[in-house]
Amino acid sequence: MSRALAALIVVDLKLAFRDKVVIFFNYLFPLMFFFAFAEIFGGRDTVGQTVTMVLAIGILGNGLWGAGMRLVQERELHILRRFKVTPVTPLPLLAASLVTGLLVYLPAVGLTLFLAHTIYGMPYPQQWASLLAMTVLGVIAFRAIGLIVAAVVNSVQESTIVIQLLYMPMLLLSGATIPLVLLPEWARVFSRFLPASYLIGAFESILVADRTLAVNLDAAGAMLLTTLLATAVAARIFRWEKGERLDNRAKLWLAAVFAPFLALGTWSLLP
């Protein structure tokens, strides 16, 4: 398994860097937000928040679109079918997707911090180990959510709809693009159930308030739990061919992998 996993990671990485869409959405797209937000929200004074938002936007795209869409496309194009006739199991394929997503995304973190430092004078993060750890947990959690979406949908069209249904609320209502203070009360309550809100909260805590991962254990724990749960379920219900249909009830697994965040949201609303 380790030999297969290593080979899959190497090939996945090469394929990722040969794909213009991957390059655009991992590096250029977040940078567009970076410069736009930095100018809109006041440059130097709020650059920490800007970096937080940009990192979250990148992770959302990398996970939901990168992992979720690609797996469905490979199933539709009969690519996974060729893997099915070999002894390889779904787990190394899924694990390779998690690792590849992370390795593709890490340079974007460095690039964003470098630009924030050189252009807007943001000091490099003091809690860099916590930032790295949270980045790792965030990327693999959102990749895993992407993989569970791919596992339960039957087509690229269905995948696009489900990913949009997850992506847009998290982009707009978690603080990734619009600061939570500007949102109405119902949206702020809703945001407490969104994984992206916890990712942004943890990044803000580490980047702006110089806190460590230790004070963000709830977010980190929920990310880790979601990763493990989603990857295990995605491996269990993995489909190699588009002809293999999944029972509609299996779509409920999508809700199940959000359970850690639903629990956190409910907990935060308790008096």
Binding site: A7, V11, L15, D19, H78, R81, F83, K84, T89
Partner: protein, 304 residues
């Protein structure tokens, strides 16, 4: 190598495979011949461990594909009918990747050379021709040096030249005494490549044997066509042994004789020609083809 007994596959109310039986012996090329939708691919995918069976007994290399599919997949080579690779994977990268999945692997470079892909090893998959893609699929099927190969419609959709190349490769594998189960709806492919053939139609095996045995089993008569240098001097009586019918055409220069037992008719015909002093320009023999056998056995043409 393969034993199949009473194999049945149902999808809801539809029965794709109806209790078929056959065996594939070591070192032979066994063909499943039938039109699209006959149940060939379903059968093969059950044997490969890709699809569960509804009932029946199946043994492949001594393993039950329904239970021991992982160990089986490590030992067999499979060339699928419909499979693809990422557009931007290079040929050598695909070989290296798939080699990592098996417990034992053949020399990937040697395979690329053998399959005439060495010059293309740096090419992206999307830049390969149809024939090259199929050769790559064969290379990957051979990566674990399997003694048993499944080739599902290996030349479907290829141009005649590429099909010929694939045939040469399969004949090379046969010469190495590898066991091959091949599905096809091309008669000439089955006739050229297979030691034995099972004709499958609507999920049932309607004939099984060597291509020759199947041809001989059908009633359709062989044809002897004789072209004389000059018009035949006398009208033949047609009293040759086992002759079904005869006709003259081409200004009495071409004699066509239908025979139920070719050797007996041929001997008598040659004697009559000699006695009649006929100078021959050409003689052509045509046995009933597998296509005719298929038509007679199933009442339909293969490409229907």
């Amino acid at each position: 190598m393969i034993r199949v007994s009473g194999l049945t596959k149902r999808y809801g109310d539809f029965t794709a495979v109806h209790g078929i039986d056959f065996e594939v012996n070591e070192g032979e090329v066994f063909g499943l011949l039938g039109p699209n939708g006959a149940g060939k691919t379903t059968t093969v995918e059950i044997l490969e461990g890709l699809r569960p069976r509804t009932s029946g007994e199946v043994s492949v290399l001594g393993f039950d594909p329904g239970i021991q599919h992982r160990i089986l997949k490590d030992r067999i080579g499979v060339c699928l009918q419909a499979a693809n690779f990422p557009e931007k994977i290079r040929v050598w990268e695909a070989v290296r990747l798939f080699a990592s999945f098996y417990s034992r692997t053949a020399d990937g470079d040697a395979l690329l050379r053998r399959l005439q892909l060495w010059e293309k090893r740096q090419s992206f998959y999307s830049h390969l021709s149809g024939g090259q893609k199929q050769r790559l699929a064969l290379a990957l099927a051979l990566l674990n040096d399997p003694q048993l190969l499944f080739l599902d419609e290996p030349s479907a959709g290829l141009d005649p030249q590429a099909r010929l190349e694939i045939h040469e490769l399969v004949l090379g594998l046969r010469a190495e005494r590898r066991t091959i189960l091949l599905t096809t709806h091309y008669i000439e492919e089955a006739e050229r490549l297979c030691d034995r053939v099972a004709i499958i139609d609507e999920g049932r095996i309607v004939a099984l044997g060597t291509p020759r045995e199947i041809q001989d089993r059908v009633i359709g008569a062989s044809l002897i066509e004789v072209t004389a240098a000059a018009p035949l001097p006398e009208a033949p009586s047609g009293g040759w042994r086992d002759c079904d019918s005869f006709s003259l055409s081409g200004d009495r220069c071409v004699l066509s004789v239908r025979s139920r037992v070719l050797p007996a008719t041929l001997v008598d015909l040659v004697k009559w020609l000699d006695a009649s002093g006929v100078v021959l320009r050409d003689v052509r023999l045509q046995r009933p083809s597998l296509e005719e056998a298929f038509l007679e056995l199933t009442g339909k043409r293969l490409r229907d």
